[in-house]
Symmetry: C2
Subunit: 355 residues, 2 copies
């Protein structure tokens, strides 16, 4: 946790403490980022005292393994009352509370206001996102390792490709190899063969792999940090035209990566990519890339109208694609780390592999 | 989709249409329930016209495979404006809109209000949950199959147990077998050996499996519907006392299942379980069970203070447990379908298996 930077956010927002919560199985990314805990509960970070986690009885042992030293038991039925009690007990001021409006539901807010009647709230969601956009050295070490693991598994899948009969054989193998290393997947892998490839987020099916391009989009979570890589391979006999299209997209992708400079505008980068795709630009139907960290999609946002700027120690993807409806899809994606120039962290060969 | 029941919700809440949305990768369960679509986008269900999905360009092909016939492209940057435009185009009234306050963030609401200035909203979250609590015949067929798959995979893991060295070997195998069948996992499997077992939601580690009880909590998603089963096995040589504790818990679990009757109060069922656990009751640190459907946790809620009543065609878990901090954990869980009495859908043997 970057305690000092976070203190700055509380000061800027004139807030006495920050409150993050998770009520279901889905971890709140900011709560995880600042605590290392990903279960149900609440995280309180006061401006002046040490942070505190409040979790259901069944999660106490797990919470004690997080970065937060102080762990209290909460009453799940009286969630915000428990928080209020602990705040009073610890003598923390609560005139103004920083909350994450993007991860705070209307219903939770209703109950929150019943307990914290005369308290003002300030949305610190965007400030937290901004804080997470530039990575610390420790985060960079973890992200490099995360990309490393993704590479290893992608290579293994490619080496074993002849054994797979269906898309789910492939995605299952990707997930199994991930789990065997004690890691999590960063997102549900995409394995999209033939005409399925024209859906960028196609869910793998257990019918026979189709001939033609096969898009494999995959990433792991290592110590909570994501990696993201896409390789498109070819099943069967590729025509000259198909090889040409693939290599054209590869040129576009590498050209973008080689030309990223500190301070580049991310919206303009997207625009340049569209320009470079020429006649294929109308078949490029998603953003050029996104930041990668504790979430698979975070800042910077490399798409139309984005005002984000490239900064040193950002980690993001570059992933142009061509999707011809009902015919095929090709996507080539790397996770890069911005230094003086962009360093590719995902190193699996991008030469078209024909299987 | 249960169009007629849903119409009743809109009428009861005097709403012209219902609006559900998902902005990130995490699908909104109500949106999935009523559409079968689980990507980014919005679902509009008018009281009088047919429902409509609005999705980003990249998801159009996927959305067309859902239950909703009408699919429109949205502008992600102007999310709620896109919705407003389409509503106007289709001549749908929008004086009062039913929304899901539990899956509507403060930030989304802020943008929503900028577009829908003079529109009232009504929270239909709980009505949707209630609608989903009792399953249709079609849902029951799917849930039975989902439990069937979970059984098959648990049996396979038990038969192969001698090959596993770590908890992640086991959880990885569970996930791989799931994927190979073209299914999803319903939640991150728990494999908790030895003292790890005292954390009900322990995340599997890749260190050597510990001797003693090993809790395996697992479920799949088949056609979007969850199953949930926990078996506790024993690694090594179980003492008489340990066997006794296991069989005591098993008696408690079976006793509860055998005595469930229509109209039983779920809070009282939890209380009865605590009573039956006797001296172990202080080591029972979570609820007795929960409904299972498109979400792994839904209504009814079988825990302290719950006012839910058991009804025919509900599907829920019964999962008492004993957790001695830093020593061990035992949990035995089945998914049951309520008919005249409770029918166990997860059928793997509950005799203590010693490996």
């Amino acid at each position: 946790m970057r305690a000092n930077d976070f203190k700055g956010i509380l000061e800027k927002n004139k807030s006495d403490f920050a409150l993050f919560y998770t009520l279901d199985q889905e971890p709140n990314p900011n709560m995880f980022y600042f605590s290392g805990y990903r279960g149900v509960g609440a995280l309180i970070i006061p401006k002046k005292k040490s942070p505190c986690l409040m979790v259901p009885k069944m999660e106490v042992e797990r919470a004690k393994k997080s970065m937060v030293k102080q762990v209290c038991v909460m009453n799940k039925k009286r969630f915000f009352e428990s928080i209020s009690n602990i705040i009073k007990k610890r003598g923390i001021l609560s005139k103004k509370i920083g909350i994450d409006n993007d991860n705070f539901s209307l219903n939770a807010y209703k109950y929150f206001k019943k307990t914290f009647k005369n308290v003002k709230t300030k949305d610190i969601f965007y400030d937290c996102l901004k804080l997470r956009e530039v990575k610390t050295n420790k985060e960079i070490r973890i992200l490099k390792k995360s990309c490393n693991y993704a590479d290893k598994i992608i290579k293994k899948v490619i080496n074993n490709f002849k054994d797979f009969k269906t898309e789910t054989d492939v995605s299952g193998f990707l997930e199994y190899e991930t789990k065997k290393l004690g890691l999590d997947i960063a997102f549900s892998p995409v394995v999209a063969s033939g005409s399925n490839g024209s859906m960028p987020h196609h869910e793998p099916t257990n019918t026979k792999l189709k001939k033609g391009f096969c898009v494999i989009d995959f990433g792991v979570k290592y110590k909570g940090y994501c990696s993201d890589i896409t390789r498109t391979i070819y099943l069967g006999k590729a025509s000259g035209k198909e090889k040409q299209t693939y290599n054209f997209l590869l040129d576009v992708q590498e050209n973008i990566i080689n030309n990223i400079k500190i301070n580049d505008n991310c919206g303009k980068m997207y625009g340049d990519c569209v320009k470079n795709l020429g006649k294929y630009s109308k078949y490029f139907i998603h953003g050029l890339g996104h930041g990668v960290g504790v979430e698979i999609h975070e800042l910077p946002n490399l798409s139309l109208n984005s005002k984000d700027k490239v900064m040193e120690n950002m980690v993001f993807t570059i992933e142009p694609g061509i999707y011809i409806p009902k015919k095929f899809g090709i996507r080539i994606e790397d996770t890069v780390l911005m230094g003086k120039k962009a360093n590719v962290l995902t190193k699996v060969s991008k030469d078209l592999l024909i299987i």
